[in-house]
């Protein structure tokens, strides 16, 4: 008989061993999936995880992409992790990301074609505020009316997507674009451009912001009373109430921070790698960031590593679709599988597997 026995305290070794095991299991299961698609599994896994970094032909292009893709993922996941730690479920980061990009782009384009130093900072500010405000909707509904924040934040993603579509063909459309949907190219306008800061690294201001966010989140979680309250509310809500933690303030803080960071990610993306507001501007970073947050153990430093790994699967996935004809959709399934395996092996962190005679429960 195999039984689970609760550990007295979570295992430190498994806390960090579980993600590694999950990645290994995902590679095996993913390999089987690629084999089922009629592709060589070993070649597919190597193309996804090895070639973007070390292949002499592709690495020069792929390596900078790593930071370009990891930047928004880490930025969003860091914010989400604070909430997930406290039991506050913001799953609408995709919407906050879109609204951040819309507000940032709108603030900039209102001043076009002026050239001034303050335009880019203004856009960043507007984007952060936009993401923050969008996140405040579920947060205030939660604290004021106790409305389920999971459903509201998620449903607002669809609203944000409609707003994006409307802006791309309406208010933000490029008047010189010949009637095509999409805004002016922000990365080609000197005042709004968010260029590569160090040539060949892919690092733009969003990557810098992600690093700062990770450091700040680390300090908040480990050295600040707010971080203690977040952890307490997540692990022992009753104890948190006795300790005087105000749950409403915690909800507002977690949603606000996550929205702010997602909005920042949006504005850095629209001024940099994406370049413009278009109908297909959002590519699901807000949802993938949920996986990143869990894979990084809801810990800022872990998220940094998880973000890089997840960015690698994006780039490797593109490469695999280009080289081996593996559909890009396979990568999305692959990422979902990773989260499944992670949640499955996580049981080892809190429980011990006992084989043998079973005590009476």
């Amino acid at each position: 008989m195999i039984a689970l026995e609760r550990r007295a305290a979570p295992s430190r070794a498994w806390l960090w061993g579980a993600p590694l095991l999950a990645v290994a299991l995902t590679m095996i299961a993913g390999g089987l999936m690629f084999a089922a698609l009629g592709k060589d599994p070993v070649a597919a896994i190597r193309t996804i995880f090895w070639d973007p970094l070390f292949d002499p032909q592709f690495a020069a292009y792929s390596r900078p992409q790593l930071l370009v893709k990891a930047g928004p993922l880490v930025l969003i996941a860091t914010g989400l992790a604070l909430g997930f730690r406290a039991g506050v479920w913001n799953i609408g980061a995709e919407g906050q990301y879109i609204v951040g990009a819309l507000c940032g782009a709108g603030a900039g384009l209102a001043l076009y074609p002026m050239e001034a130093w303050f335009i880019f900072p203004l856009m960043v500010l507007a984007g952060a505020l936009g993401g923050w405000a969008w996140a405040m909707i579920p947060a205030i509904l939660k604290t004021r009316f106790n409305t389920n924040e999971i459903l509201v934040s998620l449903l607002l993603v669809y609203v944000a997507e409609s707003l994006l579509a409307s802006a791309a063909v309406g208010v933000l459309r490029n008047p010189e674009g010949g009637g095509f949907p999409g805004s002016r190219n922000l990365s080609q306008w000197a005042s709004s451009a968010n260029p590569e800061l160090i040539a060949g690294t892919g690092a733009h201001w969003g990557v810098v912001a992600a690093l700062i966010a990770v450091i700040l989140a680390y300090v908040v979680l480990n050295r600040h009373l707010t971080g203690f309250h977040i952890k307490l509310a997540g692990q022992a809500p009753r104890a948190a109430r006795f300790a005087g933690v105000n749950p409403a303030r915690l909800v507002l803080f977690c949603f606000g921070t996550a929205g702010l960071l997602a909005g920042l990610a949006g504005v850095f993306e629209v001024t940099g790698p994406a370049g413009q507001i278009g109908i297909d501007f959002n590519v699901g970073y807000g949802f993938t960031a949920i996986i990143v947050a869990f894979l990084g153990r809801l810990d800022p430093l872990g998220i940094l590593l998880a973000g890089l790994l997840m960015a690698l699967t994006y780039i490797g996935g593109e490469l695999a679709s280009f080289m081996l004809g593996i559909p890009v959709a396979a990568i999305q399934a692959f990422q979902g599988m990773l989260l499944f395996f992670l949640l499955a092996v996580d049981v080892l962190t809190n429980f011990r597997i006992r084989v043998g005679r079973r005590d009476i429960a």
Partner: protein
Amino acid sequence: MDLSVISPTLLVASLMVASTPLLLAALGELVVEKAGVLNLGVEGMMIVGAIGGFAIAVETGSPVAGFVAAAVAGAALASVFGVLTQFLLANQVATGLATTLFGLGISSLMGQSYSGIRPPATPRLDLGPLGDLPFVGRVVFGHDWVVYFSLLLTFAVWWFLNRSRAGLTLRAVGENHAAAHALGIKVVAIRMAAIAFGGACAGLGGAYLSLVRVPQWTEGMTSGAGWIALAIVVFASWRAGRVLLGAYLFGGVTVLQLNLQAAGVALPVEYLSMSPYLITIAVLVLMSARRRGAAAAPASLGQSFHASQ
């Protein structure tokens, strides 16, 4: 703008068609939540059902086989969720999200070769002269079998939850799993069965989208229907009859906004298409603002059960 192009008969008839996927998925989730499990993977299970049902219906030429396959596919994905949350005690919110993300990914992978194909038609039931009656004939007697099946299922779920012994056991598990366990009820087994049922219902709902409502396969075609189904369960205060009301209400909003788009109302299409989501949010707020709304939730909803506790 010409509102006269909107025919009330067709409006009501298409309302029922638009509501059926929501009704099926929400009924499944109702049973799952009544057993004390929060499965946020409805969207993922629906879309897996949509492509699974579509693929089998196209390959076999039989829509019925498609619906069966969709139910199996939905239940299979739900069982993954079940194993993770019931045996490996994973967090239900996170696992539900994983189910949705994985379902969206695997469905677009499976659907690569099925876009742009028309599925075999699911015909309206021929009820003889009844179907020729004015208005009533089209609205009440002019549907395919799945619509009637979903209405029957509503009654069956109501009867099961409120009138049967097994339903009482299931509700006991959802209200207080520790007490149910102490009474010798197999909490995990009942929850697994409920989760599989919920997955099968969501799968059927998804297949109804791809085989009847649209009818075509496009990536991400559920576009939030699974999340609206989750909201309907909250709206319904966890009661089967109100799930029917909620599903038809939301179906009505969807159909009305599509009709208004077609009639050329002076509102941009994007604002009309966001209306079902905004109305869902508004309804959630109204329900939660009332004190009684939240109290109707099963007491053990979303909590993991391990016999050691």
